[in-house]
Structure formats: C-alpha cells, structure tokens
C-alpha cells in the first residue's frame, strides 16, 4: 500500500483545523496549517510517484464500499496512472505555489482563515477528482471543486455581485453535472459498473459507433458535463463572472486546475470517446468555436482579470480541440503548460492589482515596469509562453494540438492559427497597457513582497521551460496517440508566425500609435460594441431562460395553479361540504372541544363499521 489517501486527506485535515479553530488561531498558525498541509501533500505525491515508477499499469487502492444496492457497488477507490501522475504534480505543485503567494496577497483580509480553509478544501476535492478510480469518486471531486469555487468566488459575500457570481457558477455547473449524472446512469446500465477499469475494458471491445448509439449518447452527456466545468460554449458564462473572487482563487481554480477537469475527464474517458466519433467531432467543434469567440472578446476588455478570464476560456477551447481530434496527450500537455503560464498571468495580475490597491482597469495602469520589475518581467515570460513564441512552453503544447487538428480538418487548424494570433495580440495588449508608457492612475505603485514574487519567479521558470517536459511521451503508455499525420514543418512555422504577428500588431496599436485602437473601434462601430458586450450572451440567457422561469413559476405555477386552481378546488370542496353538513364550520371555529367530539364520533363510526364487517363474516 502506498497510502494514496494521504495525498487528498492532508489538505482536508488542513481545512478541518482552520475551518473549526481558525477564527481563534494566530495568522502564523493558520498559514502553517494551510500551506504546510498542501506542501506535505505535494511531497507525498512525489514520493508515491517515485515509488510507483515506471507506472506502466494503473495502480489502484480500494478502501471501503461507499454504497451498494443490487448489482451497483461503489467503492471509495483511488488510483494513480500516468495521466493522474501529470495532473497530481500540476495540482499539488502549482497549488503549493499559489498557497504560498496567498500568504502575501491575503495578509490584510479579515477572513484569512476562511480563505485558506476553503483553498485547502478545494485541494482535497481536486485531488479526489484526479485520483478517483471510478466515475462516482471522480464526481465527488467534480461537484466538490464546484462547491469550493462557489464559496471562494463569493468570498466577498457582502458584495452582491460576488454572491451572484458564485451562485451563477454553481448553477451553471449543475447544468453540466446534470449531463454527467445521466451519463453515469447510462454507463451503469450498459456496463454494470462505474469502475474505470471495468468500464473502459468493456468499452474497448465495443464497435465504433459511426452512426451514433448508446455510447455516443453517453459521450455527448459527458461532454455537457465538461462544457460546464471547463467553461465551454454554451456553459462558459460563469467563468468571466468568477473573477469576483480573490485573484489567487482565479489563478488556482479558474485557470490552472479546476477548469481543466473537463479536459481531464474527457481524456480519462478516451476509451468511450474513441467509440463515438460524432461526440469527438462535437468536442473539437465546441472547442474551436469557444477558443475563437472567447479570444475575440478578450481583444476588447479593459479589466485585466477579464482579459485573462476570456483567455482561459479560449485556451480551454484549444484543449478541447486537442482531445476532440484524438490528441489526448496534447490536450493534457496544454493543461500543464497552461497551468504554468496562466497561473503566472493571474498571479502577476494579482501583484499589479495588489500594488495598485485594488485597481483592475488597465486604462488606469501603465508604466509599471519601473515600479514592479519582477511582476513586469515574469508576466512578460508568461505572455511569450501563451503567445506561442518558439522555445516557450505554450509553443510546444499548442503546436501539438494544431498539428493534430490539421490532421482531422485543415479548417480547425486555420481557425486555431487565427485564434493564436488574437491570443498574442490581447495578452501583449494587456502587457503593454500595464507596464509600458506612463502611469495613468492615482495610487502609489509598489512591488509585492518576496512571498508573492518568489512563486512568480518559479512559475516563470516553468512557463519558459515547461515545454521541454515530454508529457506526450509520458502519456503514450496510457492514452491513445493522435493519428500521426504528415508532420509538415510549415504548419508549426505558420502557427508561430501568427503569434509573432499578433505581438507586433499589439506593439503597433498600444505603443507606436496609441490613438489607433480608438479609431479602429469607432470604425467597426456595431461590431465592436457587439464583441465588447460579449455578444450579449448573458442578456440573451437572462431573457430567454432565467426571467421566463422566474416569472412563470411565480405567476403561472404558484399563484395560478397552486393557490388558484388546486387550493381553490380544495377550499371549494371544503365550503361545499360545510354548507351541506354544517360540520366544517364548527370545526373551523377552532374550538377544541368540538374537535374532540368529532374524534369520538369518528371512532364510534369506525367501530360500527367494524361491527358490521365482522358480523358480515
């Protein structure tokens, strides 16, 4: 036994201690418990993985039966295979860095203990998610991370927009979970088990459903779940709002780890998806459309966190393209590199926001290069990585995805390339607006303390060099590789060029000719407003779904049906019998003695009945 359970339990213990006693503990103790538990978890994960090398087969530990009924038997089982190993290291590694960073970022907050308790709870659920050995244990983590996301988005719960955003995240995710649950019911109906090993082994022997079928339906339902958790069309709307949470939360949950759960789950279920080509195509199409659309919105935002939020939606779209075209390894590779550079972008943005006393609008920034050089240059590295500049981590993973996409359909590739150009543009737009030019705000900018800047530097190193970790090679043993198409070097060159062109255009727009963006926006007119207002998707959902359900429930269901119709009939019957017998009126007088008389009368009636029945026999 490797005591796998220690990996998730350690942060859970941290949560329990800080949650129960944190309010009365000194800050240093809270920090020790919260950060210590995650570091220990990271250490235990590393130790376990070293012990389990080379991990060619999944390693499973079964603990106890959670519930069983008939032939359904669900155990609390954890497993580690190479896919889990990658996720484990990313989650605990990046998680540890963000915990450390948070010590500085959150030091002045009243709810310090609450913040760390929830962050630890999140780690517990996230680790459960990636280590679960059956669909239900994965689902425990899946809904659990959603809960922590809800709690942490709503961390500033006194502010209505934060509470609203948290609730929105939970509910939209619930719509996805609806699909996930239904998929599980069908999986059990089809395979008689929810255990990964048994389900995937059985699925391997099923024929490929090129014309659709039960597996295709299962995969579509899983996809619905994935679009919720990983913020893809049509359920991406919660993620931009989720930026209401503290910035370390945005980095950990809404960029590096939780939102990639949909990609992880799809890759985990590769054996099912490979039998359902229609569902695979749907994954890729949803991915590319989301990537493209979110990138266009990212071009127009001024809130630095919103830019990165739409960027996350867009990058998750790339990962979906990867798994959708069968390049599961490339998708997970991008999960990892994205965790590095996007966590860094958010933490860097957090350092800027922190240094400007909660300013998030880039129009009030500028010239911060001199004031916060570490934030500036680490963010520069992250920007190069996400822009796909050759040599930096994002280049490698994005390249793998785009080449695999080209093998499936050149259309996917070209949309991906255009998106890559836009990505480079908006991320450097943000960097130029923040760090170059002159300072446009009122605050006194200052660099953050070491406890925040050291994690930035570590992440910068990973963002720069992370591409050299041979993730696809590591995953080759567990995940089917993409259909190795013709590896045309020009495809990689074009993709890299798109990124460089994007950077160049951003430089032209925001450094060389600062008047240009306004002129272009005016020139585009309606189109610009459409994109700037996020295509009015929130408004459309509100008018077509939220409001009709609310007002329909209030008037049609409650006041008309329930009170009017059903209760009307009941009360009408009551009045009718009252006027016939006169008995009800007496009862409604509330006189208890008359009620007692009724009971006696009723009992007599019963006895008479019984006497008759007994006599009849």
């Amino acid at each position: 036994m490797q005591l796998l359970w220690l990996i998730p339990i350690l942060p859970l213990a941290g949560f329990a201690v800080n949650g129960l006693f944190g309010r009365k503990m000194p800050k240093s103790m809270i920090t020790l418990v919260a950060v210590g538990s995650v570091l220990l978890s990271f250490a235990w994960a590393v130790k376990t993985l070293l012990a389990l090398q080379p991990l060619n087969q999944p390693y499973v530990e079964r603990y106890f039966t959670w519930f069983s009924s008939g032939s359904l038997n669900v155990g609390f089982d954890l497993m580690v295979d190479r896919l889990t190993a990658v996720m484990l290291l990313v989650v605990t590694g990046v998680g540890s860095l963000i915990h450390i960073y948070s010590i500085g970022y959150m030091h002045a907050e009243d709810g310090y203990y609450r913040f760390f308790a929830f962050l630890n709870l999140f780690m517990f659920f996230m680790l459960t998610l990636v280590m679960g050995a059956n669909f239900l244990v994965l689902f425990v983590g899946w809904e659990g991370v959603g809960l922590c996301s809800y709690l942490l988005i709503g961390y500033y719960f006194v502010r209505d927009y934060a509470a609203d955003a948290g609730k929105k995240a939970f509910i939209v995710n619930r719509i996805g979970d609806f699909g996930f649950s239904l998929a599980m019911f069908l999986i059990f109906a089809m395979f008689g088990s929810l255990d990964f090993g048994r389900v995937f082994a059985a699925a391997a022997s099923k024929p490929v459903e090129s014309a659709g079928g039960a597996l295709t339906l299962i995969c579509f339902l899983l996809l619905l779940g994935a679009t919720g958790k990983s913020a893809q069309i049509p359920l991406y709307v919660w993620l931009p709002d989720a930026m209401a949470g503290p910035t370390p939360v945005s980095a950990l949950i809404h960029a590096a780890t939780m939102v990639t759960a949909g990609v992880y789950m799809t890759a985990r279920s590769a054996a099912l998806f490979l039998k359902a080509p229609m569902a695979m195509d749907a994954v890729a199409i949803i991915g590319i459309v989301t990537a493209f659309m979110a990138a266009t919105i990212g071009l127009t935002q001024f809130d630095i966190k919103k830019v990165f939020a739409y960027s996350t939606v867009s990058q998750l779209g790339y990962m979906f393209v990867g798994v959708g075209v069968g390049a599961f390894d490339a998708g997970i590779f991008h999960v990892m590199t994205h965790a590095f550079f996007k966590a860094l972008l958010f933490l860097g943005a957090g350092a800027v926001i922190h240094g400007l006393h909660d300013e998030q609008d880039m129009r009030n920034m500028g010239g911060l290069r001199k004031h916060m050089p570490i934030a500036c240059w680490t963010l520069f590295i992250a920007s190069l990585a996400i822009a796909g500049v050759p040599g930096f981590s994002g280049y490698f993973s994005k390249d793998e995805i785009l080449i695999a996409a080209h093998g499936r359909s050149p259309m996917l590739y070209w949309l991906g390339v255009i998106t890559a150009g836009m990505t480079a543009f908006y991320v450097f737009r943000a960097w130029f607006m923040t760090f170059l030019g002159r300072y446009r705000g009122q605050a006194h900018p200052h660099e953050s303390p070491l406890v925040m800047t050291v994690p930035l530097m570590v992440l910068a190193a990973l963002s720069a060099g992370g591409g050299f970790i041979p993730v696809p090679h590591i995953l080759a043993a567990v995940l089917p590789a993409a259909h190795a198409g013709h590896h045309d070097p020009s495809l990689a060159i074009i993709a890299a060029a798109a990124g460089l062109i994007g950077i160049g255009l951003a430089y032209l727009f925001y450094v060389v000719k600062p008047g240009l963006p306004g002129a272009v926006a005016n020139g585009l007119g309606g189109l610009y407003r459409l994109v700037c207002n996020k295509y009015y998707v929130d408004e459309i959902y509100d008018h077509t779904v939220v409001q009709p359900i609310k007002s329909g429930s209030e008037t049609l269901l409650w006041k008309v049906t329930d009170v009017g119709l059903v209760d009307g009939i009941v009360n009408g019957l009551g009045r009718l019998s009252a006027s016939v017998g006169g008995g009800l009126r007496t009862m409604q007088s509330g006189n208890i003695r008359s009620y007692a008389a009724w009971v006696v009368f009723g009992s007599l009636l019963v006895l008479v009945f019984i006497g008759m029945a007994g006599g009849a026999r």
Partner: protein, 518 residues
C-alpha cells in the same frame, strides 16, 4: 417485555405522567420531556443489533390479541426499513425539545406532552403489523400534530390545522374502508398473514377489487407524502406550525405516507401498483419539478422549505414505483435523508425566526456576518439538501435516479432536472438570508448559535456526513427488505398476466411461486 414495547411505552407513559405535571411551569415540562425522549432514543438504539444481524426478517415481534371480535391484535415488529424510521423519530424528538426550550412560552406542559404523544404515534406507525393497529397509530399521530399547529402556530394556524386534518382524514377514511374490506375477505387484520395468503394464493384480489383497494390506500399515503397535486395542505401546515411541529411533520410524518406505499401498497396490491406505476411516476416527476419551481419564488422561509419537500419526496415516490432495487433502496434512504436534512433546515429556519421574529425572507440579509456559525450550519444543511456528493441526500437521489434510469431512461432525465433546480432555489434562498449587507434589524437582533442550539444541530450535521460517506451502515438492511418487497410485488404479476390473457384458465392454473414472509 421486549425492547420495542419499552420504546413504544416510554413516550406513551411520558404523555400520561406528563398530564400530572404542574401547569404553566416550562422548566419542569421541558426537562421532563427531554429526559423521556433521550431515554427513549437511547433505548431505541438497542433495537438495532438483532435487525442488523438478520435484515429481512421481522425482529422484536410481539403478537397478542387486543380485541377479540373483530379479531385485532397488538402485533408489532421491526425489520431493516422500519427500525431506521423508528430511530429517526426517537432522534428528532429530543432535538425538538431542545429547540423549543425557550421558544414555547404558552402552555408549555401541554406542548411537551403532545410532542411525546406524537412520538408515540409516529413510532407506532412504523412498527405496527396489524392493519387496524396501523390505522390506530396513524390517527393517534394526527391528533397531537393538529394541536401543535392549532395552538402553538402562527396567525393562520386554525385554517392550517383544519386543512391538515381534513386532508389527512379524507385519505385515511378511505384507507380504513379498504382495510375493513380486506378484513372481510381475509378474516384478519394481520399484515404478515395477509401477505402470506396472497403469496400462497389462498387469497386473491381480482383486478376489479384490487384497483379500488389500492387507490384507497394510495390516496391516504399520497396525501401524506404529499404527492402532487395533493400537496397544498403542506405549505400551509408548515407555514403556520411551530418549529418542533414543522420538524416532526417534515422529517417523520411525511415518511408515514412513503412508508405506507412501500410497506403496504406494493406487497398487498402488486398488480394494481404496477398498472398504476406510470401515472404515479408522472405525478412524482411533476412534483419534483413543480415543487422546486414554486419553492424558488416563495417569499416565506418555511413555505419555501415545504415546497422543497414536495420536490424531494417526488424522488421517493419515483424510486418506489420504478420497481427496481436501486430505486427502492434510494427511496427508503431518501426518506431518512430528507428526515435529517429537512429536519435540520426547519430547525435552522426556526432559529432564524426566533431571532428575527419574521419568516419573510426579504427582512433578512447578511446573517453570515452576524452569526457565522449559524451560517456554516445552514450552508452544510443546504448542501446536503441539494445533493452534494459526500453528504447524505446524494446517495439517495443517485440511487433513485439510477433505478429510474434502469426502468425507463427518460424518467431519470426529467427527474434530474429537479437536481439542477434544487441548487437554484436553495442557493438563492441562502444568498438572500446570509449574504449581502445586514439590515439594521439583523444587526441588532441576530446572534450566533448558543450551546443548547449546538447540541440540537450537531447530531444532524454528523448524520449528514455519516450517511453521505458511510452509507453501508444503513443500506444493507434496507436492500434486504426491499429485495423481499420487490419479490412480493412480482408475486402476482404472473397471475395477472394469466388473468388478462387466458381468463378461463386463470383460476385453474398452477399456483404462483410462493414466497414466504418469514
């Protein structure tokens, strides 16, 4: 005297002795009720051992003649389903006493002894094995609840109490008539004996009798569950009942209906139950979605929770009438889960009411700032209620939906919409109460949980986690009993098919497979 009789006798004796207590002395009355109910609870835990050792068979059986003619027995016993419902009842009674501690100022003695009488009636319902005895307990539980609402309720308490009474009475009168008819046919009220006769074929209800009999029982139970559209008494009863009344009503009394469905309707009228399954499930699913939507827009805290119960109990009915092992197990588990989580929800709403003196949601806000631990307890309970995995409701809902999906997948699709909606109404509810800025009234009146309130709430929260993570403490015994009930409900299906296809040979055909009850 076996332990079950002691557990039944304790609250009954408490009621009778309580009559002698001094009037108007709250301190004596509540201490007395707390001691009696705690002793009852501890005693009831002793009931578990033999049931856990042998799940499906009846344990703690007492069968003595009560009335010679008609032949009515005091016949009680417990199996792997009823034992949990009895313990649920005995667990919640002391919690209700604790929560009423300072809340009930008017006629305290009467209040507490009615609570004990209620406990007696409810526990009795779950262990009665004689149809008439069952009816007696059913009615006994009705009376104290009527008074709890009618005397200690809020402004419209009389209307609510009478409505509650008439609704329930209407159903139970029909049930009584059906019982008497069965007595006429079987010559006994003894439930195991009747089931034995049905299984051996010596007693048969033809389809012309079976359907009306089933409907008579079903109506009584469906009102109690309550199943849409028979639910409109529930929001009124909850909206007006005092906290303890609401807790016992939601947590235990509604389970009388669910319990009746699975204990009596399925084994006694298997053909009619299966024939009616589709429309009953349709009503259950309507109830799940409708209850959730109407809950969402309620301005009153207790009415909101009441409508959420309509939604939750729809899952129970769906599970029972899916005629699958998972569905039935989930349904029974959900009965217990709902008892714990909705009981806790009403308790917490009661605590808010005790502080803010209003049930209108709009008068609250920002309570998390004023009372952080109350907010934590409410959060955990809400999460249990919306079926977060690792808390109790998830296991029940999952099993019900899995069972429904195995029977007919679209049922699961429709019912699962209710799972989405539960998050909508609960989180919105929570937000309006606990998040945002505090109004002045909240700032001055709302304080955090006190020691006594902790004592009442913590056991429920522990149960939510326990039942959510270690469901195997409870499920094996439930599964065993359900497996037997499902077998019984299949027993006459064969017979029914023959009746339909070959009416002439039906009587002469081979005896259906005989399944022994004990």
């Amino acid at each position: 005297m076996n332990l079950l009789n002691i557990v039944l006798a304790l609250p009954a004796a408490g009621f009778l002795i309580g009559l002698l207590l001094p009037k108007g002395n709250a301190g004596v009355a509540r201490t007395f009720a707390l001691i009696v109910s705690l002793v009852t609870f501890i005693a009831s835990l002793g009931l578990l051992a033999p049931v856990m050792a042998n799940h499906a068979a009846m344990q703690w059986v007492t069968d003595v003649p009560w009335i010679a003619s008609p032949n009515i027995h005091y016949h009680v016993g417990l199996d792997g389903i009823s034992v949990w419902l009895v313990i649920l009842t005995t667990l919640l009674t002391p919690i209700c006493v604790l929560l009423s501690w300072n809340y009930i100022r008017q006629r305290p003695k009467e209040f507490y002894i009615f609570l004990l009488l209620l406990e007696f009636g409810l526990a009795g319902v779950f262990c009665a094995l004689d149809l008439f005895l069952f009816y007696v307990f059913w009615e006994v539980s009705l009376v104290p609840m009527y008074f709890l609402i009618g005397i200690w309720g809020y402004d419209r308490r009389i209307y609510a109490a009478v409505k509650f009474f008439i609704y329930t009475m209407t159903g139970s009168v029909l049930m009584l008539a059906a019982m008497i008819y069965i007595y006429g046919r079987a010559g006994t009220f003894d439930y195991p004996a009747i089931v034995g006769m049905l299984n051996s074929g010596s007693l048969r209800f033809g389809s012309a009798e079976q359907l009306p009999l089933f409907l008579a029982f079903f109506l009584a139970f469906a009102i109690k569950v309550p199943l849409f559209p028979l639910h409109t008494w529930l929001p009124d009863a909850h909206g007006e009942a005092p906290t303890a009344g609401s807790i016992m009503l939601a947590a235990v009394m509604l389970k009388m209906g669910c319990y009746g469905l699975i204990r009596f309707c399925l084994p006694l009228f298997p053909n009619a139950a299966r024939q009616s399954g589709n429309w009953i499930i349709t009503l259950a699913i309507i109830g799940i979605i409708y209850g959730a939507l109407v809950a969402m827009v309620q301005p009153n805290m207790k009415r909101l929770v009441a409508y959420s119960s309509v939604s939750h109990l729809g899952f129970v009915v769906l599970g029972i009438f899916s005629f699958s092992q998972q569905g039935a197990d989930g349904a029974v588990y959900q009965m217990l889960n709902h008892g714990i989580s909705t009981g806790a929800l009403f308790a917490l709403v009661g605590l808010l009411h005790e502080r803010g003196h209003t049930l209108e949601i709009k008068h609250y806000g920002g309570v998390a700032t004023a009372a952080p631990w109350l907010a934590v307890a409410f959060m955990i309970t809400s999460l249990a209620s919306i079926g977060l995995p690792s808390l109790n409701n998830f296991v029940g809902e999952f099993l019900v939906l899995q069972g429904a999906a195995l029977s007919y997948f679209p049922w699961a699709v429709w019912a699962a919409i209710g799972v989405i909606l539960s998050a909508v109404y609960m989180l919105w509810f929570y937000q309006r109460l606990f998040f945002g800025k505090m109004p002045e009234a909240v700032k001055t009146h709302v304080y955090d949980l006190k020691a006594r309130e902790w004592l009442a709430i913590v056991p429920l929260i522990v149960m939510m986690v326990w039942m959510g993570t270690a469901a195997q403490t409870f499920l094996p015994s439930i599964t065993a009993v359900n497996a037997r009930i499902l077998e019984q409900s299949k027993a006459n299906v064969e017979f029914q098919v023959k009746l339909r296809n070959e009416p002439n040979r039906a009587e002469a055909s081979v005896e259906p497979e005989s399944i022994h009850v004990r």
